[in-house]
Symmetry: C2
Subunit: 282 residues, 2 copies
């Protein structure tokens, strides 16, 4: 069994960024800059933000965090968001979601400048991905594709099973994988006989958010298993959707958690920031 | 084998429209109106336009056809399109595609008022369908769902195979069927061992445009077969993607061509027109 580590994938993306960055900096007269917008202090937001900012800086670009109280008023938030959205020195925006319930998330997202929308959440980028035109895909979904490509796991004609149909992972992944000529099956909580369906996949991607649910009963021999889940188990330990130990003798390759897809996601975010700062690179 | 005729489905949609139409007419002070925009005289466009206009009028609404020469200039077309798009007495627009190559189809579609976009081609409606918010789905894709519901063919948890990944049928259908809790597999020209994959489907939907390609080797016993193809065979006879005669003893139900999904599509168009004329009904 091959362990598909995210680190070398992230490093390769970093090399690509470092090569192109001087030209972009010259053109802009400054470093590309990401604004991370967060409401409240949810631990998972803080952790992702910390990783994202560290990665962006490590790759030689700028990132700043703009924090609102959890109970921020909708008007105040919208005005502040509008200013960041229009700021000429901000190239990319990462909005930590879900926003608190008093904010009109749908409206705010629809206002986001699609060229700054480095995590592909605006309707314009969603439509671009779905219709196959262009635009940014959500970083996690893109990270899965980057990882598969880095490890030269071919997708064309392969049966790829995706467990999860969210707007953040399942649906965008299905669109990205269709574009790579994979035959895509989207499973979810209502799928009947999930094990029977998931065992048909040459490549199985799990994005369900249940600690170690996917054991060896869910995979066929020599399957490639991609674990998008980031969960905390009963002992408070970070783990994925996949029972790594139980699958390791049956799968041909598995991504670990932590250190798998998650490690690539922030590198993709950095790459999107570079592209947002210079659309000519797209 | 049950033949899933489109006519009674269309009639049921017609009844629903006729029931709601008087209230909408009262509110508007006129009948809802569809503008069909066509460039050139392609036979398939003419045939679809004729059917669409007949259906709209049969259901008591108005439809008018606006025709441009095949070689219409981009500026002239855009100006004329803009006028129709803004016309307060036009509730729905059906744009016959593909547009001739000198026209900027992507730009024109992105300008379309999404509330008049009764065939769900604008990016706003595409994003709405993909993100599961709201908006019009393309009529053909919606017609498949209406037909399945009319015949009480349950979708939740079923394995649905879609052959074809177009923006007009395959992709929107996958989104509509996910919403109905089906487990969706999207196949296409690059799918390896298509027969093996398609034989797993409880419900198989073909939208590939190859005359009678889907024979009994492609379906499992008791499968429900939905034929979205409208093709002309070597003898110039109208036929679907499915070899009806070859599949009839193995399938539990099949839609005929003509008289299947196609018959429902224009009824869905009429329903979308009514909804476009009165968003409160949505």
């Amino acid at each position: 069994m091959r362990e598909l580590n995210g680190r070398p994938v992230a490093e390769a993306i970093g090399e690509e960024i470092k090569e192109k960055l001087p030209g972009v900096e010259m053109m802009l007269g400054r470093k590309p800059k990401l604004a991370v917008i967060r409401c409240g202090e949810k631990p998972e937001d803080l952790s992702y933000e910390r990783n994202a900012i560290r990665r962006i800086r490590e790759f030689g670009m700028e990132a700043e965090s703009i924090v609102f109280p959890e109970d921020v008023n909708d008007n105040i938030f919208q005005r502040a968001f509008g200013k960041i959205n229009e700021d000429k020195r901000t190239d990319g925006i990462l909005l930590m979601r879900p926003l608190p319930p008093q904010l009109n998330e749908g409206f705010i997202i629809s206002c986001m400048d699609s060229e700054k929308d480095v995590d592909g959440i605006s309707p314009v980028n969603a439509a671009g991905l779905y219709l196959g035109t262009d635009g940014f895909a959500p970083c996690t979904a893109q990270a899965v594709v980057e990882l598969l490509k880095y490890y030269k796991i071919s997708l064309a004609g392969k049966n790829v099973g995706i467990i999860g149909r969210s707007n953040v992972v399942g649906k965008p992944l299905s669109m990205l994988l269709l574009k790579e000529d994979a035959t895509v099956t989207i499973c979810h909580s209502r799928t009947a006989e999930l094990q029977k369906v998931s065992r048909r996949a040459d490549i199985l991607i799990s994005a369900i958010g249940r600690p170690r649910m996917i054991n060896s009963d869910y995979i066929k021999r020599s399957c490639v298993v991609i674990d998008v889940g980031i969960n905390t188990d009963r002992d408070g330990k970070l783990c994925g959707d996949v029972d790594f130990e139980d699958c390791r003798l049956k799968a041909s390759a598995i991504t670990p958690v932590p250190g798998g897809v998650g490690a690539v996601t922030t590198a993709v975010l950095a790459k999107h920031l570079l592209l947002a700062a210079n659309r000519d690179l797209l």
